[in-house]
């Protein structure tokens, strides 16, 4: 600690004009085209940008930990006052052991599955120079510091016995073992649930205050960056395009790319009735592509001739705020890329139901024990309605989706009917009309599209099986289908891996729409995508739904996205619906305490730090659901014994608004008052 204070003048990390290339297919391709930034002592610096912009590469370069084909071609990296590029292997190893630590995105793979968590943690203390006798105690103390429950027990467990949030706490504890000067966090909460993410982010903030560690925080999530960072750098195509104090940069962006990125995000309270989301058309230049002038010129709505010939400098535009743009003063006037604004709000037909689910139960067996993944779901979805489904992982969202499409049979007594007619449980027993009526868009297009089939084959086969067209007619329909999802017909012969993530998901959507379905289930269709691509996909889904007046069940962990696209929302917890109601009503207080916690946990750009509700602990195991109200173990508003003894009914508290809680709605309204104020402001 004292050493750190003594060295307060030297920055923790100083990267100057870093250029880096990867050797791919025999040619050096430039991935980082000159990046300069400084992280001061105790400062938290955020790097944002879409995937492929070089965020992770910069982080790995900062540790000089690059794959064998990566080469730093120019620039300097000074970590803790020492020149990284002048070091040999031994010095580097020393430095990495003591001065810099890294926390990766996926804690599950960052921990060794065959070594007890405690032993791994002790090892990182020993590597950092602590004597083996002391290391055990230090490890235990560190686990307490990362606020893990039952630290002694955790020490003797294996990684797979811990939840994702606990694993990430262990990884953070390991990273802090050496009391590093610089802690690099590479998307540390991307794989976690919102409530767990909020907790882990709080923890990182607190630890930073305790240890005085400098942080390089990498995230694609601008809300997380806003919450966690003092200063932010925006990377685009391996070039720093804007840099400034976090709040200033996110509220007053001065580069068209930052402006565009911020506009892509479905903001709090934004819904499809208020207009389409803005997108950033085009693709970033690939690594190694020759760029003349401004790197963003090809996608910029404000582009002028000068942008293509002369690269702008990173010029100051405010206090510590710089933008690499010739027109930074008018950056915020960036025209909207999305033309079909403000579509007509749909009129959900009343009286008839597209899908009706009654008492849906699903018991799953896992290693001998059985648990209820779905514990009696009742749901009606109207034609033309978008029903949003939210909840943490393990809440049963995907199980519900799979039951509806007919993958995996629900328990006896469950009823699912389509347009009034009962639906056989398994897809194999359904008629062709029933099959084509309900289709699904999967989360990950890499897994849901056959890697060896060209787009034409993927779409053509779906058309044949679902509508029975052949030959020339089929060829014509394939083109129409691809056009309906705005997929260039020239791409029909491409294999999925030749397409970008957004294009791949368009193929997945086109396949689901091949049979002109009445109900499409969207299972996290945008969570694997960048925000600009997400916006385009959401716009597409909204347009398709409007044009054909079909229904969606839209599953997402991103509340902003669900709020944007949904007419009604259901909140799922441990296989039970806790709240159902119109989207704006559910998001506005009064709501179920669980919904309240979910909303509070979501990182947003609008709300600066204020009172937040945190859920402690993890979701209880579905094999042993808590008695009474299943949420009582984590509920911040638990009233007393009744919550532990009696399961509250899903009662209609207001017209169309159902809440499963013992607390009367008037009481909830009073308790959640500050939330209501926030929503209005």
């Amino acid at each position: 600690m004292s050493e750190k204070l003594g060295a307060a003048q030297t920055p923790a990390l100083q990267v100057t004009d870093l250029k880096l290339s990867y050797r791919v297919r025999g040619r050096d391709r430039e991935a980082i085209r000159g990046v300069t930034f400084t992280i001061n002592r105790g400062e938290s610096y955020g790097l944002v940008g879409e995937s492929g912009c070089g965020k992770s590469t910069v982080a790995y370069a900062a540790m000089r930990y690059l794959p064998s084909n990566g080469k730093i071609t120019s620039g300097t990296i000074v970590l803790d006052g020492r020149d990284m590029l002048a070091m040999d292997g031994d010095e580097l190893r020393q430095l990495r052991a003591k001065a810099v630590s890294m926390v990766y995105q996926n804690p599950g793979t960052a921990l060794n599955p065959t070594i007890r968590v405690g032993d791994q943690l002790v090892e990182s203390f020993v590597t950092a120079g602590v004597h083996r006798h002391e290391a055990g105690e230090r490890a235990l103390a560190m686990l307490r510091q990362v606020q893990i429950s039952d630290p002694t027990g955790v020490m003797s467990r294996y990684a797979h016995q811990l939840s994702g949030g606990m694993q990430q706490r262990v990884v953070i504890a390991m990273a802090l073992a050496s009391d590093p000067t610089l802690l690099i966090l590479d998307e540390p909460t991307t794989g976690l649930d919102a409530t767990v993410e909020a907790e882990v982010l709080d923890l990182i903030r607190n630890l930073r205050a305790t240890f005085g560690t400098s942080v390089l925080f990498i995230s694609h999530n601008l809300g997380v960056i806003a919450r966690m960072c003092d200063r932010v750098g925006v990377l685009y195509a391996g070039r720093m395009v804007e840099e400034g104090p976090a709040w200033e940069l996110l509220t007053n962006p001065r580069h068209p790319y930052t402006v565009g990125l911020l506009r892509c995000i479905p903001r709090w309270g934004l819904s499809k009735e208020l207009g389409a989301l803005d997108t950033i058309p085009g693709f970033p230049p690939g690594i190694g592509a020759a760029v003349k002038g401004c790197v963003f010129a090809d996608r910029c709505g404000l582009v002028q001739d000068i942008c293509r010939t002369k690269e702008p400098g990173l010029d100051p535009v405010g206090e510590g705020h710089a933008s690499r743009c010739h027109f930074s003063d008018i950056a915020q006037t960036l025209p909207s890329a999305e033309r079909d604004m403000v579509p007509r709000p749909p009129v959900p037909e009343t009286g008839r139901s597209a899908l009706s689910i009654h008492n849906l139960r699903r018991t799953m067996r896992q290693q001998g024990s059985s648990f209820q993944a779905l514990a009696g779901i009742d749901l009606e979805i109207a034609p033309g309605e978008v029903f949003g489904l939210v909840g943490e992982s393990g809440s049963g969202k995907t199980t519900l989706a799979r039951s509806v499409v007919g993958l995996g049979a629900p328990d006896a007594g469950s009823e699912i009917s389509l347009e009034g007619k009962p639906l056989p449980a398994k897809v194999g027993q359904r008629s062709r009309d029933q099959v084509r009526a309900i289709q699904i868009v999967f989360q990950n297009p890499d897994a849901s599209l056959n890697r060896r089939h060209a787009v034409r084959q993927i779409l053509g086969r779906a058309l044949t099986k679902l509508t029975g067209v052949h030959g020339e007619q089929r060829a014509r329909r394939v083109v129409e289908l691809s056009e309906s999802v705005r997929l260039d017909a020239a791409l029909l012969d491409a294999l999925p891996r030749q397409l970008s993530g957004g294009l791949k998901q368009r193929v997945g959507i086109a396949r689901a729409f091949a049979g002109e379905p009445h109900l499409v289930i969207c299972d996290e269709p945008t969570s694997a995508l960048d925000v600009s691509v997400q916006a385009a996909i959401l716009n597409l889904l909204v347009r398709l739904q409007r044009d054909r007046n079909l229904s969606y069940i839209f599953i997402s962990h991103d509340l902003g996205v669900v709020r944007y696209i949904s007419d009604r929302i259901g909140v799922l917890y441990l296989g039970r619906l806790m709240e159902v109601g119109p989207a704006d009503v559910v998001f506005r207080a009064p709501h179920h305490p669980y919904t309240e916690a979910l909303l509070s946990a979501a990182p947003s750009l609008e709300v600066r730090e204020e009172h937040r509700i945190r859920l402690s602990g993890d979701v209880p195991s579905a094999a042993k659901p808590p008695s009474g109200c299943v949420f009582h173990t984590r509920c911040p508003r638990k009233t007393g014994a009744i919550c532990e003894q009696e399961q509250p009914p899903l009662a209609e508290e207001e017209p169309g608004h159902f809440i499963r809680c013992h607390i009367p709605i008037e009481e909830l309204r009073r308790l959640q008052k500050p939330e209501a104020a926030k929503e209005a402001g």
Binding site: G26, F442, H453, A490
Partner: protein, 293 residues
């Protein structure tokens, strides 16, 4: 590292596809083990095809007056116990093995792939039954089983191919099943079920192309073993009957001369077997490197 992946600018999809192939080819050309293996195998294939043109003598023509001559200008590899030219016999010997080994391996690969696909896709009882039978076969040593069968039915090239092929099928079935298990969990398989595809379509059109990598690698690895196994069977006298110039058979016929320090009738066929086995293994190794990228 995700940052390394860039997506190609697509003028047309066809050109992108071609690009993917040239990329793979270029990678193959930079993999030395693949190149060396392919060169040696190609050499032997050419020998087999043009044996009649290359070989200086008739491989079957005995010449008792010139038996057991050491390597010289007239007989570069010397002559054997019956005065036949060793070089010519080695060249002609490539024919039998280069036909039998690939056929046997192909048979085993096709059978094993089918078993593996069915077991991995259907799971449950089907998998249980198929894999237990496979395990039972795996417990039998290939050569010993082959000897028993050949002793019972009598040796011929066809039976050797059948026996070796059947012996390989269980091994390949296990590999394919493992690959299918992870593939079958991917959502494209569910997407196929959601349009009511029949099981054979899902197995052979959807899943099979995605497990071809491991299948190809397994094929080449097994090919090396097949060359070795067939040579061993001939050596033990259960393969192609004499006087064929088969390598394994030749070694069996001539190895008694080793005691008298007459090494050439044995050494050259032995080297031939070794070179084919090693080359095929190098090729397999290189291939798996290329496919894993």
């Amino acid at each position: 590292m995700s940052a390394v992946i860039s997506f190609p600018r697509l003028e047309t999809a066809a050109s992108a596809r071609r690009q993917a192939w040239t990329e793979r080819l270029r990678l193959a050309l930079r993999t030395p083990s693949l190149l060396v293996g392919a060169a040696v195998v190609l050499f032997w294939i050419l020998c087999a095809i043009f044996a009649a043109k290359i070989a200086p003598y008739d491989p079957l023509q005995p010449d008792i007056l010139h038996k057991l001559l050491p390597p010289s200008a007239a007989h570069r590899f010397g002559t054997d116990g019956l005065g036949r030219d060793v070089l010519s016999r080695v060249i002609f010997g490539s024919r039998g093995i280069l036909v039998a080994a690939p056929l046997a391996t192909l048979l085993g690969t096709v059978g094993g792939t089918a078993i593996g696909l069915v077991a991995g896709y259907f799971r449950g009882l089907v998998e249980e039954v198929l894999m237990r039978i496979t395990d039972a076969f795996l417990a039998l040593p290939t050569i010993v089983t082959a000897l028993l069968v050949l002793a019972a039915v009598g040796g011929s090239t066809t039976t050797v191919i059948l026996v070796i092929g059947l012996g390989f099928a269980p091994i390949i079935a296990r590999t394919v099943r493992a690959a299918v298990l992870s593939e079958a969990q991917l959502e494209y398989v569910e997407a196929a079920k959601l349009r009511q595809e029949r099981a054979p379509y899902v197995m052979f059109v959807e899943i099979l192309p995605n497990v071809m990598g491991p299948v190809l690698v397994e094929f080449t690895v097994r090919l090396g073993y097949a060359v070795f196994a067939i040579a061993t069977l001939s050596f033990l006298g259960f393969g192609i009957p004499p006087p064929a110039p088969d390598w394994g058979l030749t070694i069996a016929e001539q190895y008694t001369y080793l005691i008298a320090n007459l090494w050439w009738p044995v050494l050259f066929p032995a080297l031939a077997i070794a070179s084919v086995v090693i080359a095929v293994n190098l090729f397999a190794d290189g291939l798996s490197q290329v496919l894993e990228r």
